[in-house]
Symmetry: D2
């Protein structure tokens, strides 16, 4: 279990500067949007992008599933056909995790929505299998996002059941501390997971109480009230050993410079993880 830099805490979209910052702060893992990577490949080459990671001993922790799961069937099928090549590229940067999130509420009727989505996620997961990539699904907790006509998946337990519909062996959870907190879940909920079910982890913090915390008002790990030490310990005890990524969504600018935030997050997470390991 090691910290992973997430672009949300850095005001840049310049890949090389982002990777340099990661290295300077001590990160071994980075999350990077696929479109940054594709732009850099366009500008230079895929070998050059690989070299940017390897020369810094950085690995791509995960990549967002590059498929529009909600498109009409023709567009979805086109995305699905392009998936293997896109996965191979991400795997070349060290990635073994692919992620996407699920809406907590929806305007479409739930049964057809869930059924179609389950089939599409299963097809995507099958396309990931030859590459050894797992698909992590993220449930979304903030209550203000429950504003659509019907609830969909709002917590870990509901996602666990939805995974029965997906029915693919390489699909599991992306656990985000903000969603865990706003879904008002406990460490016991995390303790039930098997290590291979936890595909990826987001770590961030909240200033507000669970029912009021806004998805775009997150703060750096340690700046809020989420019991992150317990959160990380539960994941560690469940067997998770991968990256924990600093996804801090926000609308208002975060305090400090890019370097300060990246450094602070790294140090705090490193300390929390050290404590977890010391305890276990």
């Amino acid at each position: 279990m090691k910290p992973c830099l997430h672009p949300s805490i850095v005001d840049t979209n310049e890949l090389e500067a982002y990777l340099d910052l990661a290295v300077q702060c001590g990160y071994e893992w980075v999350d990077v949007p696929l479109h940054w990577l594709h732009q850099e490949v366009e500008r230079t080459s895929s070998s050059r992008v690989e070299a940017m990671f390897q020369s810094r001993r950085l690995r791509l922790a995960s990549f967002g599933l590059p498929v529009d799961l909600y498109a009409d069937e023709a567009d979805y099928v086109r995305d699905l056909a392009l998936l293997p090549e896109r996965v191979a590229f991400a795997v070349g940067l060290g990635a073994v995790r692919c992620t996407t999130f699920l809406w907590p509420s929806i305007d479409e009727r739930p049964v057809p929505y869930a059924s179609r989505l389950a089939r599409r996620l299963r097809q995507c997961a099958v396309a990931l299998m030859p590459h050894g990539v797992r698909l992590g699904l993220e449930y979304v907790g903030p209550h203000h996002l429950r504003n659509r006509a019907y609830p969909f998946v709002q917590n870990l337990a509901e996602l666990a059941i939805f995974l029965e519909a997906v029915g693919a062996p390489n699909v599991g959870f992306l656990i985000d501390s903000f969603h865990w907190y706003t879904a008002e879940e406990s460490t016991d909920d995390l303790a039930l997971l098997k290590p291979e079910q936890i595909v990826h982890v987001h770590v961030n913090d909240a200033l507000e109480e669970p029912s009021l915390a806004h998805d775009q008002r997150r703060c750096l790990p340690g700046d809020g009230r989420i019991p992150l030490a317990s959160f990380l310990r539960a994941l560690y005890e469940a067997g998770y050993r991968g990256p924990v990524s600093t996804e801090v969504l926000h609308q208002e600018p975060l305090a400090g410079s890019n370097a300060e935030r990246a450094q602070t997050a790294f140090e705090r997470l490193t300390q929390m993880i050290a404590n977890v390991k010391g305890d276990c």
Copy 2:
């Protein structure tokens, strides 16, 4: 496409008399509740029950999925473990179709309900595969059954999408004329089906208009207003060649004697099917 006697139009639960009646009327197919068969096996033997079918050249058109899909997990798993033996018995009577129906509305929340059910149906379908048995799911149309908290699957189109969640190749549709009528569907809806998607067919009639027709007030094919000739022609044109079963659910006694009803249904269906074939 040939008529199949369904026990709902015969006031008996005596297996041998039921089979005799089928033969006398000209049926080659019968639907029989599994528990009738199991009782007869208990009383005599499975060989004896097989002989009862073979000596009459009757085949079991289908059997109800002998699994409680809504039980708690332990009970469900026990049913699933018993499924292969029960399937083998039914196959010995000529069955290659297994069926179950889906509720049109439910009190549980739809996404977990649909997800769990999809997984269980998939597991049952996998257990049927070695036996060459397909699983037909029946959607239920009458509006008065839409009285639960949430809608589930109410028509052919919704079932088609739910089948994406199930995701097993040997699962298809049980098409019932009453549900097709009350769901206010057209022959065009049936024409889209591939032959292997139609696992079984129920034929019966309605006196009331679609929105008022009560699930337990069905009448014999030809006694009501459902355009059964068109219904059967659409299924035939879609490639269906199997039994069409006289499932006539009712609370009030049906008019006539057992023999009269069985004979009337046979003759009317035989005539309708002859017309369909003549047209095609």
Copy 3:
């Protein structure tokens, strides 16, 4: 378990006469080469061919897998693409069994031969699944066919292991009494089978001892020395309840008229089956 007429005992290739003969002798099942059926469809229509079966209450017991498993990949793939339509047609005639045989010896190297064949059989089996059709593989016993460079599959036990490579749930055995006899197997070998593993059965007889019996010198059931009563009893006890088909390969003309052979085979098999049931 009921007799099935096989075209090998009838010197004709005229479909209607063949079906008439089946009915006259009392058969409910017939095996018919797919190319007879396709020719008749060409000449008349598929509806007409269906009517030829239904009006006689005959069912197609099985059809040969219409795929060249040994073709180069492009031709194989073309056959595979055409398979669903061909299966749907055969299913419309009542078929739920598809069969093919395996060579007992081969000139190609065994590992690539077995590997490619396993993959192709698996793909064919997957294409059969939506139709509820099982694939029965026939091992071939006569010793004179062990003349190629390498042995492949020569008996039930070897086929059972090869099925592990195939790895599809709807693939099982076609058991032929001639191969069982020439492979010098016992009823104990058959008793180990589960009912769903026995997809189809061929019944015929041999005049020669097992090591000398020639594949093309078979005789009618009861005219030779194969212990067919034991053979059928073992299959019945294993749970098989389907057709037993009179496949009597021969080069020299068989004695008697078509009608005499078809009638004799029917009566003998009917008697044997009655004895089996009486014993069990």
Copy 4:
């Protein structure tokens, strides 16, 4: 593509010293026998072993499939049942590759041997799927190992066909330069591979000509006559970006000290890889 230290070039079985040596030489990847790791876990704890890797920024490149594929069924099934826990442990050390080799010749009859092995490899691969681990199969080239009764898999092309029997999406190749050389294959043979098919790579060298090279007389990469630059370029061009492991099997002691060998191998491979990237 980066060098991976393999224990075969180091005369030790002391885990910590081995990992220290890896770090000192600049390796980021190590191959380690699972039994070393299990012994260390026994002696200390799994957390301690994880810390030994993480504190050095080392990752476990691969682990040998901890299943006896040739055991009788009961023992095999027991191994298979233990597999998930063993995989989870290896994944905690960074592993995403599991490997096993195939014998080039065998004493058992090839078809049952290949069929059973294909089924077992498929089952193991299925157990690896939830962990995102791929299974790499290694073909074995040296001619002196073709001494058993029957040939099995002796080169890349034969392994490619055997993979059709295995039929699992997460199974691919472990490519070893010694086997590629002794199988007398070309870079064109490697160029046909898709990136995800190459699960792991062994790099070593040979002093003897292909037909004479002995499996246990390998030498350090660069000390022999295998065109390793071409070998690595072909793999790179095929899209492989993972570790290349210094598996140098030998009976006679290798020249130099552990540190000298590990350092030399690292430097040579690093230079070869740099050249490959420069060329591409």
